[in-house]
Amino acid sequence: MAAPLIQIEDIHKSFDSLRVLEGVSLNIERGESIVVIGQSGCGKSVLIKHLIRLLEPDSGRVIFDGEDIGEYDFMTLSKLRLRFGMLFQSAALFDSMTVEENVGLGLTETKRYKPGKIREIVNEKLELVGLTGVNHKRPAELSGGMRKRVGLARAIANSPEVLLYDEPTTGLDPITADMINKLIVDLREKLEVTSVAVTHDMKSAFEIADRIVMLYGGKIEFDGTPDEVRGTTNPVVRQFISGSASGPIQA
């Protein structure tokens, strides 16, 4: 079997005295769709940001395609990041720019494409996420669901190999959330990417995951297929998926 695309090796991360990750290890295979679940504030965003070194571990390593990304210099790191696309929790659109400029920014800044070519790619990506006719709108004029879709179009603009999703459905109504889930599944089939999502939305997790891992107490508490999650006797996981206030997890 080939080596995993991403290997997270015993990552520890603290902010001042707050210990967030306390030894997370995880392998992510090429082409897989993995979902990390966990309570709000348990460190999901912190974990996913380590994959492209938006945060650096206090100890431990992230290996991508056989290379330790902690050793990369700035230029190599930038090139690595072009192989990823990330959808942020709040979409993180640039509010001084139009939709079109948001989606095209990476292409404008990091590839030397002509404006016509960029517009073509931008329109293609916007169409993939089901958005047309909003090219010249600003983020503030869009609904939450549309902003997420623009964020998604921006994440796939560079045709990345890996897509990272930070809570893709949080803050959306159930119908819009479901549309985003379908879109994630759809994009994965069309673009053949590896995808890593973090969420506390179990419905979303079941819909998009091949494999679900649970982050709890700064470590991986559980790792299995969606069916294994449904059938588990692990009390922490059971409490989380049933959404119960009583159990080992304390709010």
């Binding site: 942020f88 993180a92 560079n158």
Partner: protein, 259 residues
């Protein structure tokens, strides 16, 4: 008293962390200079937004700075019996050496330093800075470099206007309020005017612009915790810029004017 010591210790750690962080940003800024050609469009935009748009405010402030200097000087001259033909001399020196550079920089710190920190701070807490990085774009090159460079160019540019307008303000007050002729005022001014004072003022202004830019960006980039965090960062940015401006200004005075 152990609580008090702890408090002092905490402030000490924060101070070292802040200074260290600013120098780190400065290092990254110097490295990003290699790619300055890719930020020229952004630089033009910032020259306009930060500099040109500050011009009306600088002009209004400078009129009154010049006016009050002439008024106060005339009052003090009368008091000590100094001849009013020296008015242009005294006001000219004060404006060109200290008032125009320092007050322009302070006003610029209030308008632009605050604006830069609030903008970058909001981008930070809404993950827009992470988003830039995730796209392989250096936030230092894309955001900091244009803002710092624009400030280095634009504060001196504004000081040129401030000098001119303040002298005009002083002249008007001298003619109307003090009743001396424009010739008397301007002769005194010309007699005392030295190009080196003016140039030194512009060099100071460039240094102040650099301080405001780097401090503004630093506090923006280290913002945490939502709207309240943005407010806190903005206040710190302006306060620190102003204090540094006045400290550096004093250092300049000691270096340039050996008593």
């Amino acid at each position: 008293m152990p609580g008090g010591f702890q408090e002092i210790g905490r402030h000490g750690v924060n101070f070292v962390r802040t200074v260290g962080g600013m120098f780190m940003l400065l290092g990254k800024l110097i490295i990003s200079f290699r790619e300055v050609h890719r930020s020229l469009g952004l630089l033009m935009e910032q020259l306009y937004l930060l500099g040109v748009k500050s011009l009306p405010l600088i002009v209004i402030i400078s009129i009154f700075v010049g006016a009050v200097s002439a008024w106060q000087a005339a009052y003090q001259f009368k008091f000590i019996g100094a001849p009013l033909r020296l008015l242009g001399h005294a006001v000219g020196k004060a404006v060109v050496i200290e008032l125009a550079p320092v007050l322009s920089a302070i006003v610029y710190a209030g308008r632009v330093g605050a604006g830069v920190t609030a903008e970058l701070g909001t981008m930070k807490v809404t993950e827009q800075i992470d988003a830039l990085e995730s796209m392989g774009i250096s936030p230092v090159r894309y955001l900091v470099l244009p803002r710092v460079l624009a400030s280095v160019f634009m504060v001196p540019f504004l000081v040129i206007f401030a000098n001119f307008v303040a002298i005009v303000g002083a002249l008007v007050v001298s003619i109307i309020g003090v009743a001396i002729s424009s010739e008397t005022f301007l002769t005194g001014f010309k007699y005392s005017f030295e190009l080196s004072d003016f140039i030194n003022g512009l060099i100071k202004a460039a240094v102040f612009g650099f301080i405001i830019g780097i401090v503004g960006c630093y506090y923006g980039f280290t913002t945490r915790g939502g709207a309240q965090g943005v407010g806190r960062a903005t206040t710190s940015s302006v306060v620190v810029s102003m204090v540094l401006i006045l400290i550096f200004n004093f250092v300049f005075a000691v270096i340039l004017f050996r008593i």
